[in-house]
């Protein structure tokens, strides 16, 4: 179990020096972590919802964040995306601090996410949902698109092509002109992932991607998560209750309970960690005669 207590100044100028036992897959060793979170914490009134949350994620790592209900997992995602402003600690994204940035700016710096309860733009087509995310990278200014200059059409064409390409990850090109709200549940979940990918993130945060999926869909999702990581060369961090998925796909796992990290390690280390077992199943009482 790794435990870093070195809190670094919020401006993030200090270079990263990995402690010996930080969790990063061997292929990412020696590279600057894409996500370097130090002593992150937030209070809601008197409640310490998250405290001393420290984690590093390698540039192509698939990391898991697990914990019992109410442990603060989604709060961590909200902190990472700056939806909540942290009370304490710092987040370095690819070496740059995200403090003081707006949610949209943090997205452009390279964090994209999906939601526990799906939040697509239901009244827009599947294609437009993806293209909304792509807004960042299509170069064509307001005047050009208002006057419908050739660059506008070129940009539009390029963005459509790119969106269809992204949709093909999950074989959803044929649904491009369906309204997102009319898609079946599983397809909506997949579309959320594609929409997030369209923003060209360095880190993709998935909030319970397998929720409501059956076992065979979950297996397919595991494959997709790996292939997304390989294709895009990005880091993925996921919150999930489905332990088969977490243990099957994640390289490093962090366990949260009552807002605090209680364990970090490889799937095998986590499976056998007593604190984790206790958090999930409760303390084993000695049988009284």
């Amino acid at each position: 179990m790794s435990n870093r207590n070195t809190i670094i100044s919020a401006n993030g100028t200090e270079m990263f020096s990995p402690p010996s036992n930080v969790l990063i897959p061997t292929r990412d060793e020696g590279k600057q972590p894409v996500l370097d979170v130090r002593g992150l914490g937030i209070d809601f009134g008197g409640l310490r919802a998250v405290d001393e949350f420290t984690i590093t994620v390698g540039p192509t790592e698939i990391a898991g964040l697990i914990g019992p209900n109410g442990a603060g997992k989604t709060t961590v995602f909200n902190l990472l995306t700056n939806v909540y402003k942290p009370t304490r600690g710092a987040i370095l994204l690819d070496g740059h601090p995200t403090a003081g940035k707006t949610v949209a700016q943090v997205n452009r710096m390279g964090i994209a996410r999906t939601f526990q309860n799906i939040r697509l733009f239901d009244q827009m087509t599947v294609l437009d949902n993806v293209r909304v995310g792509m807004g960042n990278n299509i170069h064509c200014n307001f005047a050009e698109s208002f006057l419908r200059l050739p660059r506008h059409f070129k940009a539009e064409k390029r963005s459509t092509e790119r969106a269809l390409e992204l949709l093909s990850i999950f074989n959803m090109e044929s649904e491009a002109y369906t309204l997102a709200g009319n898609l079946p549940y599983g397809a909506q979940r997949r579309l959320e992932i594609i929409r997030a990918l369209a923003t060209e993130p360095k880190v993709l945060l998935l909030d319970e991607p397998a929720a409501g999926m059956n076992p065979s869909e979950t297996v397919a999702l595991m494959e997709s998560i790996r292939s997304i990581r390989d294709t895009f060369g990005i880091a993925i961090m996921l919150i999930e209750h489905d332990m088969n998925l977490v243990m099957g796909v994640c390289e490093g796992i962090a366990v949260l309970n009552f807002g605090k990290l209680i364990a970090k390690g490889t799937p095998d280390q986590i499976k056998n960690n007593e604190a984790v077992i206790e958090a999930y199943l409760g303390r084993q009482e000695k049988k009284e005669a």
Partner: protein, 296 residues
Amino acid sequence: MTLLIETLIQGISLGSIYALIALGYTMVYGIAKMLNFAHGDVIMVGAYTIYTTISLAHFPGWLGVLTSVVFCSVLGIVIEFLAYKPLRGAPSLNVLITAIGISYLLQNLALLIFGGQQEDVPNTGINVPSLDLGFVVVEGKVIFTIVLTVVLMIALTLFINKTKMGKAMRAVSEDKDAARLMGINVNRTISLTFAIGSALAAFASLCYGMNYTYIKPTTGSMPGIKAFTAAVFGGIGSIPGAMLGGFGIGILEKLSQAYITPIFGEITDVIVFGVLIIMLVVRPTGLLGKKIREKV
């Protein structure tokens, strides 16, 4: 029969003006989830800008109209920035009261600057010849109003459906937080919405001035309220709904003036607002309004 057709054409013309204003209400509601009751007074500001630039400063007509459109857009952005943006996230009642306050502020500023007397609307130099269809003659200003409205509606629809900014606007109107997380600058999108809504109001003031020939500081309030009724009638938040509602209310008003007023007296406003009440009772989401889904 001739009376009916004439009435319908006048109704469409009046409805065009309502529709242009209603679009401002509905776009702002769709995106900022607030009722901008100062929107009606932007029409008054637009009309006074045309009056100031053309009658007082002797600008050419087209330049006066252009100035009015630009001035109203900027005014929309400024109002949003100073009055509504600080209240983002405040209870909607606070925003509503602020909007009413801005409405009175604009009216009283106009009263202070121009005084309470009526002013004649200047000739903008826009002259469309009347069209003689044989059984009815359609006045040039009516043709101009209808054509301008249709062109603006097509442009707006294309803008919203085909451009990146339009997509951002639709995304923000559906889910502000998700839009933010997709890298959309929500504040800029809201500003843009106010700018477009106010520009449409400026065009509405141009058409209104051509049809009603004089202005005073309270000029904007009645068409504002009627257009708001139209927006609710069509389904607030829905752009086609605002267009449909605008034409519907305009035609209803003219029909009532032509057929009911001679018998029962001037009760047109009673009928228009009566329709609003019935609509709110029978179908609170309006003709094309989105169904509100309760999240469980």
